[in-house]
Symmetry: C2
Subunit: 204 residues, 2 copies
């Protein structure tokens, strides 16, 4: 494999689970469970490449406007993913508003990072306003999440949707049209190839 400049920290926005389900005649909420296995394959790919840190957009406070059947299923999928990735040796941190009942109780222990594998930050019940409100006190609520180099979004949307506004300020943004459950490793590989061709001036 050709040696490329690798991002230190990559953010993933795995969008399109509901459209994927609808395309197959399934109920929208049935899509989320099909996002778990792709997430584990992508994480394995990151680990074997030696990427230091990844952040995955699991669900937000805004997503809680959705029907309760969807909420139940994206929460369930997020919890299952957290346990599975921790079992693979990742140093998991769950970032989100844990004062709300929508924060999964079974993940409270992950509010502090443990372990020394690849850092995996999972945003759950996250909100950009909640995050920035921390600046009125001790600092950003996501302060244990470092600056992002690259953000990859599936499902064709060309927006951040509130994803870590501070850590995203200088991130390169790469979009895939495929829906998230259709993830294949060559898609992330294309993102890395593209990333290696970008300059990093940081405004200078």
């Amino acid at each position: 494999m050709v040696k490329r400049r690798l991002p230190r920290h990559v953010g993933f926005i795995p969008d399109g689970n509901r459209r994927w389900a609808t395309d197959r005649g399934l109920a929208k909420q049935d899509g989320y469970a099909h996002g778990i296995e792709p997430g584990l394959r992508l994480s394995d790919q990151c680990m074997s490449l030696g990427i230091e840190e990844v952040t995955i957009y699991c669900f937000t406070k805004d997503n809680l406007k959705r029907p309760s059947a969807q909420q139940a299923r994206f929460t369930e999928a997020s919890v299952a993913f957290a346990h599975a990735i921790a079992d693979r040796g990742a140093a998991v941190l769950v970032v989100g508003d844990e004062r709300s009942a929508k924060f999964p109780r079974e993940l409270l222990d992950y509010r502090e990072r443990r372990g020394d594998g690849m850092k995996v930050n999972l945003l759950m019940n996250y909100g950009w306003e909640w995050d920035l409100d921390g600046l009125r006190g001790d600092g950003l609520r996501s302060k244990d999440v470092s600056r992002l180099d690259l953000i990859v979004r599936w499902g064709g949307g060309r927006r951040l949707s509130g994803f870590l506004p501070v850590q995203s300020v200088y991130a390169d943004f790469y979009i895939r049209e495929e829906l998230w459950p259709d993830f294949e490793p060559d898609q992330f590989d294309a993102a890395l190839t593209w990333f290696a061709q970008q300059d990093q001036t940081l405004g200078g």
Copy 2:
């Protein structure tokens, strides 16, 4: 013309002036002056479409790492643009750290918006950290700039480069490969056509 859903507020990142100059055998700093006339044409286009508010990324605190010859010329171009757009009846607001000598003295009167034409916000000596630091006190320093619907960047870069992190949270992001001095109205027209096809769920 076909009726399209129009963005209420559009952000512009007019990148590529230096590359444009280099491509023509000019000194890098000579590119900035060639960005003024395209900016006026784009603003005229926005006004005739009835867009309510636009924000233009003129220069940032990070840009002040560049050689002083470049700083002098991008400041000069930004000031000339501000006067020209005000003369066209725009309601101009200049947003940036005015406590620094890098903030153009001749634009101090534009720290408060005047007039009732199209709102035109010009970011000069702007910094995302400076902006967010306001949250420790009275609120965001760019609080008179509203939420963005669409951001258009020229010059091929796929990043925000610190552009209004709060107002950008749900903005759709459209990239043009052309360098900014090569702006033509059909480029923004393509952005608007694309924008009208995007859904706006705001996470719901």
